[in-house]
């Protein structure tokens, strides 16, 4: 029951290349058909895309139309484009551990404890949403204070930051014991 094949093809091609959604008014102009006909063609396209073997769909956005992909196939597209998560560097882990241990903390304090510059590692952590700025420290230069984020707490199953010191104490004493043995 097809009709107006060339215009249907043209409509599909237009929706395919369109960056912004195409309004029915613009389609009327481009295809030189009246509004009712445009609606009919859109209806036909929608029908065609309804079959399971079709990965495309007609998107209606703010009263305009364009083509998109069906939600069912999203995971394939993600696989195509998703970048594999990059493992955190040792430096980033060190900075993260220091911030977790003593937060809120300034970059200068982190640098001081590590004995090396930490700006790049810190920037990575902020970018990845593991660390965030939480204010400024009173004092000269009013340096930015950093703390871990909720995402960090969730990952390590920490209910709140208050959980951190107890973990630290338990493990610290062991390390201390070890280092004491060493020095003896």
């Amino acid at each position: 029951m097809l009709f107006r094949e060339p215009e249907t093809a043209a409509l599909e091609a237009l929706l395919f290349v369109a960056k912004d959604p195409l309004t029915p008014e613009l389609l009327v102009e481009l295809l030189e058909l009246d509004l009712a006909k445009i609606e009919e063609l859109l209806y036909e396209l929608r029908n065609r895309y309804a079959i399971d073997s079709c990965g495309l769909t007609l998107l209606e956005i703010n009263g305009g139309y364009k083509l998109g992909t069906k939600p069912e196939v999203a995971r394939y597209i993600e696989t195509l484009y998703k970048q594999p998560a990059q493992a955190l560097s040792n430096a980033a882990l060190e900075v993260l551990s220091i911030i977790a241990y003593k937060q809120p903390v300034t970059r200068g304090e982190v640098d001081f404890i590590r004995g090396v510059q930490s700006d790049r590692a810190l920037a990575t952590l902020v970018e990845k949403g593991l660390v965030k700025e939480v204010g400024r420290k009173e004092g000269p230069g009013r340096p930015i204070l950093y703390a871990t984020t909720e995402q960090f707490l969730l990952h390590f199953g920490l209910r709140s930051l208050d959980d951190m010191p107890s973990l630290e104490m338990a493990s610290l004493s062991e390390a201390e014991a070890a280092s004491t043995e060493d020095s003896n």
Binding site: N90, S97, Y101, S183
Partner: protein, 256 residues
């Protein structure tokens, strides 16, 4: 130059360049490209170039260079051949040969250009979409940057920080008699800060040179005096324990 739009002169096609013009002349004359009657073609070439000039058409130097080249080859052909021993007999042949080769190559590309022109109109054009990858991934949750990282990994990283502080790399690489007191201040404070539950005095004294021990003891006295470190001794003979105070962190603020 007068512009008489009522009586147009001979229509001259736009040539792509001197090679294009030369090729056109050869084709018009229906002569073999490998056996060009140079004298005749050279004259025609010069004629066309003159015409182009008189019509105020753009005559680039390339046209003039080729015209000169053609005339040169023509003149060599007209001159009586010198005795073979005196002149290099290959020179003239070389010029001709090179010109023919360039013409043959140019002609081949011109033919391809014609085919492309045909393809452009006959095959029509397809269009792609512009793919906005960022937009596609806007709703995709980024992968967990902590994937595969356990608390122990975090702890190991922290231990490395402590280890490095205990090793005192900064101090180690300085000549013993040059250990600055503020370098040692930072070293001692760093180590005390990393042991919030207390650090043994005996642990603080690294078994190093006598000078290193003296300077670190002086640094500790300085830190006790400024209130950044607190010392405790529970019983008379027990180890002295050192603790960071709240003030310990003010040190690093000044650092910035």
């Amino acid at each position: 130059m007068e512009h008489e739009s009522t009586s147009p002169q001979v229509e001259l096609p736009a040539y792509q360049g001197p090679l294009d013009l030369l090729l056109t002349l050869i084709q018009q004359e229906k002569v073999d490209i490998y056996d060009i009657p140079i004298a005749r073609i050279a004259d025609q070439f010069v004629d066309v170039v003159r015409q182009m000039e008189s019509m105020d058409m753009e005559v680039t130097t390339e046209f003039l260079v080729l015209a000169a080249q053609l005339l040169y080859i023509k003149s060599r052909e007209l001159l009586p051949k010198p005795p073979k021993s005196e002149q290099d007999p290959a020179e003239e042949e070389d010029l001709r040969q090179e010109l023919v080769e360039r013409l043959v190559a140019y002609r081949a590309f011109k033919q391809v250009a014609k085919v492309l022109e045909g393809l452009e109109t006959s095959s029509g054009r397809s269009y792609y979409r512009e793919v906005n990858v960022e937009g596609l991934l806007a709703n995709v949750k980024p992968e967990d940057p902590l994937k595969g990282i356990e608390f122990d990994d975090l702890w190991q990283a922290f231990c490395k920080v402590i280890e490095r502080a205990e090793r005192g790399d900064e101090i180690r690489y300085v000549e013993p008699d040059e250990i600055a007191i503020d370098l040692m201040l930072a070293d001692v404070l760093r180590r005390v800060v990393l042991h919030p539950k207390g650090m043994r005095f005996s642990q603080l004294m690294r078994s190093g040179s006598r000078m290193e021990m003296i300077v670190s003891f002086l640094a500790l006295l300085e830190l006790l005096k400024s209130g950044k470190v607190r010392a405790e001794q529970t019983t008379l003979l027990s180890d002295i324990m050192l603790f960071p105070t709240k003030k310990a962190w003010e040190f690093t603020v000044e650092e910035e």
